[in-house]
């Protein structure tokens, strides 16, 4: 290490997040300021056609302009610059704390490719002959996923992971309706699968049975056998590995039993980052699966979308996929195939988020088979490395300690910390931004007490991992030795302690600036009714 670095104060908590105390955009409004001008027609045209608005029926004309802010472009640029800085995304922190989200680096080159005018300016309803570029990319991406999953057909229509589950549930319903077996009214999922694995099939009219974990943390197979006996099962929806990081080594037993009962097996492969080139949908004998192109396959999360849940399936289920599918033939070239009379319908407007598909394609093509395998191998290595470090921290424990091996993430618990110090995962989550990073607890309901879930994907270096684990250790120590800091946290974040009373009381809550002015004056001074 450079000797200069030795002399600097490199304490982990010497961090302060950008904090601009930025006004709400309406507070920046100044009458007369303009951000951008819209083109006007010439005077001749106006003379010919009038002001345009008069052609609208009078009852449909807006009487007064919408109350939008008036802000000059420089001021607007500055405002959004400030807001951008007040975030901690992958590009700003060691983002291994958002377990299950697979916060990996999104290569900039893929953003450039996906944002180029050759894609950005494409209208979805253009004739296929003008869209041979993007259709080819999507079709090739499908080919890559045929190999990655081991199945036959694909669709990029779903707009995210939960949406992918909804699409699979829609396919299941269409399939059984076509087969005349609509009395199959139940789906089976597991406790630690994503909540959407139960919720989405319920939206499609199914009943859900949730399997509990056994002592080891694997889905209870005896419970599964009992369920198959007592229910008419249409499909199973399982995440593997689950959010605990535990790989269900008996997964083939589950699919065997499910197939014996005639059920369709749907694989939630949101947690695929540790499996690429190692084990696939087909080895586990599933019939359908989905992958998150915005998680494992590197498309950035974008603050919460847009995204793609890439669905793959065996050819027996092709007819029921959402239409259209991207196909290729010698005569037609690449085209959108709408000819699916038994399709479950559509799950999205148009065809899916093409830029996300382009990014995933570019990412896979930059890595190849060896690269993908290396991604997963390093994800597993990184996770096991962190596990050892985290479990050495006083107050930390891991869920299901009897099952030692984990794949690419792990769910831990601060239960001991809570017993010893009174501080738990919620307190931790408030203090950790003071160190320039964050973490995530768990989906509800919390069965593991005081949970936190860490997923050190392959984007992070050994030094990054060491730093993050040191941060966890430092905060745990503070819980024992400096509780007053924990109570006051966050101290170095964008803002200070936010009152939680304003989020579940309809009289108090503020859902828009307009809502604020209706209820309050000054700074949260309630207006007299």
């Amino acid at each position: 290490m450079d000797k200069i670095a030795d002399k600097r104060d490199t304490r982990l908590d010497r961090f302060h997040q950008a904090s601009w105390n930025e006004p709400i955009i309406y507070e920046l409004s100044v009458k007369g300021e303009r951000g951008m001008l819209v083109p006007e027609v010439s005077a001749d045209v106006t003379a010919e056609v009038g002001d345009g608005v008069s052609s609208l029926p009078e009852c449909m004309r807006r009487e007064s302009a919408p109350d939008l802010p008036e802000i000059g472009q420089p001021q607007l640029a500055r405002h959004y610059n400030h807001l951008a800085q007040e975030n901690l995304g992958v590009d700003s922190n060691i983002d291994i704390g958002q377990g299950t989200c697979t916060m990996k680096y999104s290569p900039k080159v893929n953003d450039r490719l996906a944002g180029c005018p050759k894609l950005a300016d494409m209208h979805p309803l253009q004739p296929d002959c003008t869209a041979q570029g993007i259709l080819e990319v999507i079709w090739r991406l499908g080919g890559l996923f045929r190999e990655i999953s081991g199945l036959d057909c694909f669709s990029i229509q779903p707009g995210g992971g939960a949406h992918g589950i909804l699409a699979m549930a829609s396919v299941v319903r269409a399939y059984w309706e076509a087969k005349g077996e609509s009395d199959r009214d139940t789906i089976v999922t597991t406790f630690f699968s994503h909540p959407a694995d139960a919720a989405c099939p319920i939206v499609k009219g199914y009943k859900a049975v949730v399997l509990p974990p056994d002592e080891e943390g694997l889905p209870d197979i005896e419970a599964f056998k009992a369920t198959l006996k007592s229910s008419k099962v249409a499909a199973i929806f399982m995440t593997n590995p689950e959010d605990t990081g535990i790989f269900n080594r008996r997964i083939r037993e589950f699919t065997r039993l499910a197939h014996e009962a005639g059920a369709i097996c749907c694989y939630d492969q949101a947690n695929a980052n540790g499996l690429l080139g190692i084990t696939r949908t087909v080895e586990a004998d599933f019939d359908m699966s989905f992958f998150n192109l915005h998680k494992t396959f590197s498309s950035p999360h974008g603050c919460g979308g847009p995204a793609v849940g890439m669905v793959t399936c065996r050819k027996e289920l092709r007819d029921y996929l959402p239409a259209p599918l991207v196909e290729h033939s010698e005569e037609k070239g690449y085209y959108l195939d709408f000819d699916l009379p038994r399709s479950c319908g559509k799950v999205k407007s148009f065809w899916g988020v093409a830029p996300v598909a382009v990014r995933a394609y570019a990412w896979i093509m930059s890595l190849g088979a060896d690269g993908l395998r290396e991604v997963s191998r390093v994800a597993i290595l990184n996770n096991n490395y962190c596990m050892k470090k985290i479990l050495a921290i006083k107050g930390a424990s891991i869920c299901f300690p009897n099952h030692k091996p984990r794949i690419e993430q792990a769910r831990y618990s601060w239960e001991q910390l809570r017993k010893d110090t009174g501080f738990g995962t919620a307190d931790f989550s408030r203090r950790i931004p003071d160190y320039g990073t964050h973490y995530w607890s768990s989906h509800e309901p919390w069965v593991i007490p005081e949970p936190f879930t860490i997923e050190p994907s392959e984007s992070y270096s050994k030094r990054d991992l060491d730093t993050y684990c040191d941060i966890l250790a430092a905060i745990a120590r503070e819980c024992y030795e400096q509780p007053e800091i924990i109570r006051e946290a966050p101290l170095n974040s964008t803002v200070h302690h936010t009152s939680h009373d304003y989020f579940d009381d309809p009289d108090k809550w503020v859902l828009s600036w307009r809502n604020y002015k209706q209820k309050y004056t000054g700074y949260f001074q309630p207006k007299k009714k």
Partner: protein, 370 residues
């Protein structure tokens, strides 16, 4: 804000000298003679420490002497004495004190004790909707009104006093047969319910929208159960708040603690005795709906005694439906559900897996052991 403050000074004395409970004057004398020291005040003190700082407007309505006044004076809390025990404090004093606090406008009763104390508080409140927070001071507490630790109870008190509590929940009060307990068997029965503030964490699950309050889950379960009732079939609704929600969904007057019978969405009879149940049950055409009672996860054995082995045999193990909120099941995790009908052979029939209804169209497979 007026808060009732009560300490059962003898609670917990048995434990340190290996006596389970201090029910009855004789046991108390034995405990004292064995050198037992009152622990309840100490626990209550811990709770008060954790509750600081309390808002200025909080004032305590207390019970005289060792039942609360002494501790409050020691901590310099102003209080108004609403009841004075005459001589050695007893269960009767607990009940009288609580009634006095209610009359004086208490918004919450904060008490330290054990199952016996909880039972007395419950009896004295007699259904009044005043919430309570229990500070655990007794020996092996079964009642759910108690916080996990005195410190947690204290933190909850502060939250309540600051207006931070949005919801009340029904917490079980268990009646323990202390004599049997001392002889090694747990004979706990559901005595009743008390309202207690619900303590929800402030971390919101930003990715999938958060969990539901129990009241919501109960009404979802009830909606499902009511919808699935077949015409002409008899339904027996067991004790508990989750099963009670079914009666509310059907808009029928049910008993929280008793077993009620419903057919074609009409009330056939309420609060049935064992005899009445044996007469009423139609073998093959009856479903018994039960929920989980007590901290150990019992579906049989902690509710009321009317569901005797004879009644259960007549209903048939295959005609029992278990309903439970996810919160209840998660609290038990990873322990299984338990059956303790009193008849070991009957217990064995229930072993295995049961699909407990946990929401609308949603079930969770639970292991059942005996």
């Amino acid at each position: 804000m007026r808060i009732g403050f009560l300490v059962n000074p003898v609670a917990g004395m048995g434990g340190s000298v290996a006596l389970k409970g201090t029910d009855g004057a004789e046991t108390l004398r034995r405990a004292r003679s064995l050198g037992a020291v009152p622990r309840a005040s100490q626990r209550m003190g811990q709770a008060l420490d954790a509750a600081l700082p309390l808002p200025e407007r909080v004032s305590f309505l207390a019970c005289g002497g060792e039942m609360g006044e002494a501790l409050l004076k020691e901590r310099r809390f102003p209080c108004e004495i609403v009841w004075r025990p005459s001589g050695e404090s007893s269960a009767a004093d607990t009940r009288a004190a609580v009634r006095a606090m209610t009359a004086a406008g208490a918004e919450l009763i904060f008490f330290a004790g054990g199952d016996g104390t909880a039972r007395d508080v419950c009896a004295a409140l007699d259904g009044a909707a005043i919430p309570v927070i229990g500070v655990p001071a007794g020996v092996k507490i079964h009642s759910a009104v108690y916080g996990i630790t005195p410190a947690r109870a204290g933190q909850l008190l502060r939250k309540f006093a600051c207006g931070g509590v949005k919801e009340l929940d029904d917490a079980e009060v268990m009646d323990i047969d202390e004599e049997a307990f001392r002889l090694g068997t747990v004979n706990a029965r559901l005595y009743g319910y008390l309202k207690t503030p619900l303590d929800r964490g402030c971390l919101q699950d930003r990715k999938s929208g958060g969990a539901n309050p129990d009241a919501y889950d109960r009404s979802a379960i009830a909606a499902w159960a009511a919808e699935k009732m077949e015409p002409g079939r008899l339904y027996l609704i067991g004790s508990g708040t989750t099963t009670q929600a079914i009666m509310e969904e059907l808009k029928l007057p049910g008993t929280l603690l008793g077993v009620d019978a419903v057919k074609d969405r009409c009330l056939v009879a309420a609060d049935l005795t064992e005899r009445q149940l044996l007469d009423l049950v139609e073998p093959g055409n009856t479903t018994l709906i039960v929920t989980v009672i007590g901290g150990q996860g019992h579906i049989f054995g902690r509710g009321n005694q009317q569901l005797s082995p004879a009644v259960l045999r007549r209903v048939g193990a295959e005609n029992v439906t278990v309903v439970a909120t996810p919160a209840k099941l998660n609290g038990l995790f990873p322990r299984p559900l338990l059956v303790d009908t009193g008849d070991p052979e009957l217990d064995r029939r229930f072993r295995g897996y049961v699909p407990a209804v946990t929401g609308y169209g949603r079930r969770q497979m639970c292991r059942v052991e005996c």
